[in-house]
């Protein structure tokens, strides 16, 4: 056996390095680490490990600014997913991840494998997945291919989630031309595990077997991680062969088999094979454990013939996991995986060399020291340029061309506010038998934990148009809205996962957006005791040089001690309507301004974190006291849209008091001031008194009942007409999609 692998010709190696996406100085570092030219497999390992997707080289310096700690955080960023303590000996494990580029190339499979990947991140830590969410951004439906993308993405998310039997309980969708060439598909999974049975990825135990389980390896997705790290160009179509196909049936078996094995004591460490497949899983497991690893690829289960070491190490075939077992537990594990009709193979062992060595057909294919592979990984503090601040828009300076009735009907039917029923009707939201608030029923989805009264509340949020106008305020707003949505069902918000979707970080204005958004998020997380426990970064979301809107999607998780405490947003008759929070009539960057006045202008609404906290804590207190019959936070579209949403959900109208004289009516009805909630209660006077005592701004705005929204001295807008306008949009758009 030789002690060096077959090396590439130096000139060829340099050229390949560039093709694989390594910058010249990065390649020089490879040479320095190895002290020689790399083999093809080694070059492949370096290029994927040092890709933006795996190394976070542009984002890491900024992500460090995010608060990640709280007494209830069991595991923050750095593992496959974040873990929090939710009481009664239980942990919630969750993460969000993007599959943007694959979903544009092949929408169904791209979205489906996105769901599969995030599920694996969660069950690899020992959790049974109990819910999926998805945050989607599409271009305008008349853009080329866009309807097919929308249709394929929705079918793909449903196709995978429905089949594995994890309910898809929530999410969000925006439409904007900035996503025409680069839609965003962010998928989130939440799981539950016993708090003392969390599985981590650090390998240990020299001599311990390294085991491969799941589906066989094919040539799919080779260099998927580097693709996700490159900007799109018109010839991206050429990159099609890297498309991976999801097999949700195999995933379902993998979930059951892994959970069954996890109930024994056989596992030392476990990690899913995600982006960069066998490479990243083996390198990360050994690296984290400070050990070495030797892989012998001959026994890797293979779907295709004649696969090389390079191909096996870089394949992104789906539904595969890597584990380190305790010595002598191979048979126990193999019996379980055989029972579930999955492949099982011992493909190596843990060593004390601090190196990864890869052998195939008797030859050494790679031999890389692990410490420098990680510590010397490129890390950039790229130049940033601040987004210039926009002037505050004076509400009185914008004329109201339509009046409240026509504006409301138009808004509830607009793309960003219309009913998402067409989407969620394709997702099984009930499987598991624990979904207490399904899509459309509440500001956050609520799923009870089997055999407990306790429930989790979950939401995803981001308002990209605010983030474009002011990334710092937008970052804070996204976190605050997630916190508010959890609060609005009565849950105690605990932690978030994030998915940072941005353009090309090599452009200072994009990197500036990123840095500012992080700053805003960090401030909100700190003020709201709402730490970040996991996340994902997706950069280079550009097509032909045009970037998407900065989109830091936030996935929030909170807990309710008793599912019976959860409130929804559906209005019932005979209740007082009370608005919590201050209304100044902020129209800058509002949907009213865009859809009705035809402008995208002004500074977005400022986020007063102290007010958020005070108002939210008050609302939650009232919900837990049992006096709130329905609750909805105010966001896109402002007060009248929120009220219309409650009315439509409950088939109940309301009679409203006149708007205050101090504000233009349209600013009162449609302004997007933050930190506000609309509550329906039996005793409005009592609530107002409690709010006054707590120093929380509160106003009675009307009373529920009847079949229309009746504006004082103004129009009477029937709930049925609102529903018609609200429900019509997506089905009409997608009729022959």
């Amino acid at each position: 056996m030789t002690d060096t692998p077959a090396l590439l010709d130096p000139a060829r190696a340099k050229q390949l390095a560039a093709e694989f996406g390594l910058k010249p100085d990065e390649y020089d570092r490879v040479l320095a680490i190895l002290g020689r030219t790399p083999s093809l497999t080694e070059l492949g390992v370096f290029s994927v490990m040092w890709s933006e997707h795996c190394s976070y080289k542009s984002s890491r310096v900024w992500l460090r600014e995010l608060p990640t700690k709280a007494p209830w955080v069991i595991q923050g960023p750095g593992e496959n997913a974040g873990v929090i303590d939710i009481g009664e000996g239980l942990a919630a494990i969750f993460k969000m991840e993007s599959h943007n580029h694959p979903s544009f190339i092949e929408p169904y499979q791209g979205a489906a494998t996105g769901v599969g990947g995030i599920l694996r991140d969660v069950f690899t830590m020992g959790a049974r997945p109990i819910a999926n969410l998805n945050a989607l951004r599409f271009g305008t439906p008349d853009a080329p291919r866009m309807k097919r993308v929308i249709d394929g993405v929705v079918r793909g998310i449903g196709g995978y989630g429905n089949c594995v039997g994890v309910p898809t309980v929530g999410g969000e969708v925006n439409f904007h031309p900035a996503y025409n060439g680069n839609p965003l598909v962010n998928a989130m999974t939440v799981g539950i595990a016993p708090a003392d049975r969390i599985f981590l990825s650090a390998a240990a135990g020299v001599g311990n077997p390294v085991v491969y389980v799941g589906s066989k390896t094919g040539r799919d997705g080779i260099h998927g991680a580097t693709m996700a790290s490159a900007e799109f160009s018109a010839d991206s179509e050429e990159k099609r062969p890297t498309v991976q196909i999801g097999d949700p049936f195999a995933e379902k078996l993998l979930i059951e088999a892994c959970l069954e094995l996890m109930a024994t004591d056989a596992i030392v460490a476990i990690q899913d094979m995600g982006a960069a497949g066998l490479t990243s899983s083996s390198v990360e497991m050994a690296g984290k454990g400070g050990v070495g690893i030797e892989l012998v690829l001959d026994d890797v289960p293979q779907r295709e013939t004649g696969m090389s070491a390079y191909e096996m190490m870089l394949s992104e075939s789906q539904e595969r996991m890597l584990m380190v077992l305790k010595p002598g537990r191979e048979a126990v594990a193999e019996a379980i995986f055989t029972k579930w009709e999955l492949d099982f193979a011992v493909i190596g062992h843990i060593t004390d060399t601090g190196r990864i060595t890869i052998r195939h057909k008797g030859a050494l294919e790679a031999d890389i020291p692990l410490a420098p592979l990680e510590s010397e990984a490129p890390l950039y503090r790229r130049p940033t340029a601040e987004t210039p601040k926009l002037p505050v828009l004076d509400a009185a300076s914008v004329a109201d061309p339509l009046g409240p009735e026509a504006a409301l009907l138009k808004l509830v039917g607009s793309l960003d506010l219309c009913s998402r029923r067409w989407i969620w009707d394709q997702y099984d939201s009930m499987v598991g038998g624990q979904t207490a608030k399904r899509p459309g029923a509440a500001d956050a989805a609520v799923v009870r934990i089997e055999d407990h009264s306790r429930a989790l509340a979950m939401t995803t949020d981001c308002t990209p148009r605010y983030c474009l106008a002011d990334p710092e305020a937008g970052g804070a707003q996204a976190v605050a809205e997630a916190w508010r949505n959890l609060t609005a069902v009565g849950a105690k918000p605990l932690a978030i996962t994030d998915n940072m979707n941005f353009g090309n970080p090599e452009k200072p204005e994009i990197m500036g957006q990123f840095a500012s958004a992080v700053r805003g998020m960090a401030a909100a997380c700190t003020a709201l005791d709402f730490p970040v426990v996991s996340g994902n970064v997706s950069l280079y979301n550009e097509t032909e040089g045009r970037a998407i809107l900065p989109t830091p999607a936030i996935g929030g998780v909170g807990v309710l001690e008793d599912v019976a405490q959860a409130v929804g947003l559906a209005l019932a008759p005979g209740l007082d309507l009370v608005l919590i929070g201050e209304t100044r009539g902020w129209l800058g960057q509002s949907l009213w301004l865009r859809e009705i006045a035809g402008q995208e202008a002004g500074a977005p609404p400022p986020v007063d974190l102290a007010a958020e906290r005070r108002n939210g804590d008050f609302v939650r207190g009232r919900i837990l006291a049992g006096t709130v019959k329905a609750c909805h936070d105010l966001s896109d579209g402002g007060l009248l849209v929120a009220l219309a949403e409650m009315a439509m959900a409950g088939d109940t109208g309301a009679t409203l008091l006149p708007p205050p004289a101090a504000l233009p009516a349209h600013a009162h009805w449609f302004g997007e001031d933050q930190a506000r909630y609309l509550l329906a209660v039996t005793d409005g006077a009592a609530l107002l008194a409690e709010a006054a005592a707590a120093g929380v701004p509160a106003t009675r705005i009307g009373r529920s009942g009847g079949e229309a929204l009746v504006l004082a001295g103004g129009p009477s807008i029937s709930v049925a007409r609102l529903q018609e306008a609200h429900e019509r949009t997506l089905p009409a758009l997608m009729a022959d999609g």
Binding site: R155, G158, G159, N162, C163, V164, G165, D247, P248, F249, A250, K252, L253, W340, E341, W424, D425, Q426, Y427, D428, S429, M430, V431, G432, G433, Q434, T435, A436, R448, E450, V563, A564
Partner: protein, 232 residues
């Protein structure tokens, strides 16, 4: 009642079904593995749960219908035992020949996850005793292939012999095309065997058994069974 749920690779509503059965019997049902070749002695009810057995690849329920345990299920049915198949379980029952017809792709060609209303056509079976004839109840449906099909002669026979258990209807009990979202022949949602002891249905009454989750519309179905086998 002694009930058992059969686990096939890829099914996913077994825990939902176990919760529903436990709610009416006070104890968890037995879980059986698809490779078993015999059923435990003295079973009152065998349940084929919902999900995506074998990924629903090829045809829904087709591969599960060929599982070793299905021979024992057929023998159980032949002895006059009770069998409940829900969603994927209904598809397995038709594929195994225990119920007539087949479930085709939904007419819309989309997965349908929504509430539906079902009208009870027969309230004199072990599955439906606790309902009134003509009563309408709500259940979740979640399927891509729930479009019931049989040839006209078979449909006429089913109707003639009173073997249509449930039909999609409006909340007021009208059987309309709009209420029949998946396009099923004659709005059929559930079918009985001639001895009324095998029931297959597409929607999931097991998801409506808990007031804290989504109401108790489906509970009478399970209460009927529990009552029927109360002595056992």
């Amino acid at each position: 009642m002694k009930a058992a749920i059969i686990l096939f690779p890829g099914i996913n509503r077994e825990r939902d079904m176990a919760l529903a059965l436990a709610r009416v019997t006070g104890r968890k049902p037995q879980m059986l593995w698809h490779r078993d070749t015999a059923l435990p002695a003295g079973l009152d009810l065998v349940v084929l749960p919902g999900g995506f057995s074998y990924g629903d690849y090829l045809r829904c329920g087709a591969m599960a219908a060929q599982s070793p345990i299905m021979q024992a299920v057929k023998a159980h049915a032949a002895r006059g035992g009770h069998v409940l198949g829900v969603c994927n379980g209904f598809q397995m029952l038709t594929e195994a020949g225990l119920l007539p017809g087949a479930l085709l792709r939904n007419a819309s060609l989309r997965f349908l996850s929504m509430d539906c209303q079902m009208k009870v056509e027969r309230a004199d079976t072990a599955f439906t005793n606790r309902f009134q004839r003509g009563q309408v109840f709500r259940a979740t449906m979640a399927h891509g292939d729930g479009n019931y099909f049989a040839d006209d002669a078979t449909l006429d026979r089913l109707e003639g012999e009173g073997l249509v258990a449930l039909r999609y209807a409006t909340p007021q009990g009208e059987v309309t095309a709009a209420a029949n979202r998946n396009g099923s022949a004659r709005s059929i949602a559930g079918v009985l065997s001639p001895n009324l002891r095998v029931l297959g249905l597409m929607p999931h009454p097991e998801n409506q058994v808990d007031p804290l989750i989504d109401g108790t519309d489906g509970l009478p179905l399970f209460e009927s069974l529990a009552e029927n086998f109360a002595a056992a």
